[in-house]
Amino acid sequence: MSAPDARGYFGDFGGRFVPEVLIAALDELERAMTAAFADDTFWDEYHAVLRDFVGRPSPIYRAQRYAADVSSVPLVMKREDTNHTGAHKINNTVGQALLARRMDKRRLLAETGAGQHGVATATVGAKFGLPVDVYMGARDIERQALNVEVMRLLGAEVHAVTSGTQTLKDATNEAFRVWAQRVEDTFYVIGSVVGAHPYPFMVREFQKVIGIEARRQTLERYGRLPSDVIACVGGGSNAMGIFAGFVNDAEVKLWGVEAGGKGLDGEEHAASLQAGSVGVLHGSRSYLLQSAEGQVRETHSISAGLDYPGVGPEHAFFKESGRATYVNVTDAQAIEAFHGFARSEGILPALESAHAIAFARRLAAQRDADDLILVNLSGRGDKDIGRC
């Protein structure tokens, strides 16, 4: 697994397309990150917090019944839903909060869509005593009232973003604008492998723990590597986290599952890699859903966490290089998997993760007992109750 080049590119994707006012802050962050990554005491503290506060390592668990009618392939779940705050997002916010403290930043700033990253940031803000401002689209605030309440209970201030689509895309725009104003004392905690360099690389490094654990656990338990690793992709952090553990194992197929929404024929989906084109959004060059004139399009997914027109630049690189394959699952298929998995396994998956689970069942039909499918169960589904 390699770092991007000096200018932050994975192949043709990545870079730093932000206003000049932010460049010095990105340089400062890159320097601090590089020093921290080379410092064992930084990683020791990160892993201690993940162990004692987040509850890592998260287990792997073989789903016995969900796909038993179509295949005898072992279907193994990496249980990121068991983390404190109920999703993989906290792995990243712990890392960034530790870095913020090291850099002596006084405040945390975050964007959020479904609210999972907002909750994960509010949580580490409370833990480390750093005030947190979360920017969230007004429409998402309505759709995710529970998470908004949780963030407020944790002491974060939640700001409604009323511009543009009033969802994650515009919340991210607003977070960048606020950061530009408070760049001297504020650390911007980006929630996915998106944004300007070094964010896509840094967030991947903080999520890599998923893949490193899962690889070790799979070898220990089954004595072999998975044949296939599956994860849902919005911005792509849970996918990049689990992929990172297997990217050098050429025989392991990597599958990213995008939100097919109401189908890729129309415009109501969020499948940037499959139906989008190359462009620049939120600081990096990658695939995005846009008009012929270069205006970023409104997207749709039943899952707020996948409802985003862009995708991390390293995923674009994996698509071009062929290292990962990107597929999609529609709203209806995800909802079916959400219900089916709950009833057959006793686990409510997040709607985002339900996309990966639905594809796992599809793939299972083509695999047998000698194979092994590993799925990143990136979050729990409590937040989605009543929405499907």
Binding site: G15, E20, V21, G294
Partner: protein
């Protein structure tokens, strides 16, 4: 094209005046009327905004103007057509556009069509120095300027490199944050940055982001070569159209233009 403009302002012992207007807000006819009014009032250069869905460097006023323009389906192609139409009748136009519309249009094609439309250059706020070579090269090959931005957070050494690479002028962002009316209350950091830029470049220095009032303009008189006024200008005519918008623009810029002479 821009060199002569700054030279004239210098000869007349005044700042150059660079108003910013969002093309297509709320329609291109209104924009054309405003461009003519600004030219008649004495604008030296006009920054013409290209509407974009995700303007990271802009505050609420310009972002909302862009949304109004997008509702009218104004995109880069229409903005270039307007610029072309006004080339004989307007002050020199510098486009202000985010990178993605240019990238989709094609960098080479953008430079070619911008040159054909008679524009003087392009400011692309999300293309900082490190990403600017391709676009700067394409524009430069057609003698179009690409002013680069220097921010209060830019270290001096970097500012010197930016000034060296910028063409046309150096765009000095007056304060942290995004576009919008209101300068920082403390002038000292801006004064220090302008002085430090003077030591490393002879290129004109245009101050923007927050310049609002005649007093702001007078305060900058001895420090800069030009002022950019955007959000405050848009606020003055938002919600009106055509000649009525043009009339408000005339009223708004008259006292600013009267404040340009360096005392």
């Amino acid at each position: 094209m821009l060199g002569a403009v700054f030279e004239r302002a210098r000869r007349e012992k005044r700042l150059a005046f660079i108003p910013y207007v969002m093309a297509g807000d709320p329609d291109l006819e209104t924009t054309e009327a405003i461009l003519l009014a600004l030219t008649a009032a004495g604008a030296d250069i006009i920054e013409l905004g290209v509407p974009y869905s995700d303007p990271l460097a802009d505050g609420p006023t310009i972002a909302a103007a862009g949304q109004r323009a997008l509702r009218g389906a104004t995109h880069l192609r229409g903005v270039l057509a307007l610029a072309s139409q006004c080339r004989e009748s307007c002050a020199p136009i510098v486009l202000f556009t985010y990178y993605n519309p240019v990238y989709q249009f094609g960098v080479e094609r953008f430079a070619r069509d911008a040159a054909a439309a008679g524009v003087a250059g392009a400011i692309v706020p999300d293309v900082a120095l490190e990403e600017s070579a391709e676009l700067r090269g394409a524009l430069g090959a057609r003698e179009l300027a690409m002013p680069l931005l220097v921010a209060p957070s830019t270290p001096d050494q970097r500012a010197a490199r930016i000034a060296d690479a910028a063409t046309g002028f150096v765009y000095v962002v007056s304060r942290l944050g995004v576009t919008g009316a209101g300068l920082a209350p403390d002038f000292a950091p801006l004064r220090r940055q302008l002085a430090s830029l003077r030591e490393v470049t002879k290129k004109p220095l245009a101050v923007g982001f927050g310049v609002t009032s005649p007093q702001d303009v007078r305060n900058l008189g001895s420090l800069a070569d030009a002022v950019v006024v955007g959000s405050a200008l848009i606020d003055s005519y938002a919600g009106t159209r055509a000649q009525s918008a043009a009339a408000r623009v005339r009223d708004f810029v008259a006292p600013l233009i009267a404040a340009l002479p360096i005392s």
